[in-house]
Symmetry: C2
Subunit: 208 residues, 2 copies
Amino acid sequence: MKAKIPVRTIERLTILCTILEKLDKDGVGHISSSELGIITGVQPNTIRKDINYIGQPGAEVGYNVKTLKDTIESGLGLKTHRKTCIVGLGELGATIINLPGFLGSNIKIEAAFDSSINRLETFDTNIPLFPAYRIEEIVRDMQIELGVLTVPPSAAQNVAEKLIHGGIKGILNFTPVVINVDDSKIAVRNIHMLEEFKILSALISFEE
Amino acid sequence: MKAKIPVRTIERLTILCTILEKLDKDGVGHISSSELGIITGVQPNTIRKDINYIGQPGAEVGYNVKTLKDTIESGLGLKTHRKTCIVGLGELGATIINLPGFLGSNIKIEAAFDSSINRLETFDTNIPLFPAYRIEEIVRDMQIELGVLTVPPSAAQNVAEKLIHGGIKGILNFTPVVINVDDSKIAVRNIHMLEEFKILSALISFEE
């Protein structure tokens, strides 16, 4: 196990890594924390502190883009391939399975589940599909590490528990439900898309 | 303009409000900050501080669920109807336009745009569709306040600027691009779905 890093730092470093990847592709060789601050919207001082967590010393004269990207990737374990499954092939699940960004990434969707046999028979994909009652067995046999919840809210907790019994390590929860899991063993990220609309609505009400 | 509240507080209060709405529907009349802490995963002390921002005094003996929900809704401006548009009718845009959660909410999708005339002609929806070159005009004429970016990354900045010229107040950015806007005037929320997978991957690497 690696030394703990604050979740907010992991979030910022992950996004920073994606930005560095793009800068590297664009041919940028060297960058300062001030320049990174402008691109990311994060205070340069925070950027330097975040980077210090994964060992690269804060550089007065800036960073080598490619070296920094590699350091973050290694430090966060982003070079590790992660087998992933999706539970729930409604519109959102179907969209995620087809996201082009997975191509060439270390996140590999290896299986998908739905409770509707009809949906499984008619859904067009190269990814192996299974009925929901096989979640625990398939996750264990295929050693899947990440699970995506795109099921109806009423099914969320039950499906999360099946994934966990199968040995899942992390859950990306798209349902509006707070799922109860043992935080010390299972990482959960919530993406509440409708909540984001409300948060945006609240933010602009403070500008009016 | 209302007094400023930290963004993290707005985030937590918005999600708390959704939870209170559900508790109220389930017939729960009264709740303590400790109980809310268990449901939300937020420290009770933080919950009390967040609630104090919108005026309800921290209660030793807990909160009336319905009153607290109403107080947060009013305090955050969540009772205000917000006209919303979606730019980009690819898979993700098409999924969002159909999200059932908008029904009965104060977020109303009133228009959608795409640069492909063919896409506009074949897309099946009751929501008015327009070609992308009309964004600025339509946003202004319809007084649309929120815009959803589900365009290809290369189009994100350009589309954001058109929305802003039309008078948009808030942008929900689903592209992996950091869009440059005047933060003092435009609220931006970023949902980087692929980044969330990476963050989850990083989080579990610290458990290994």
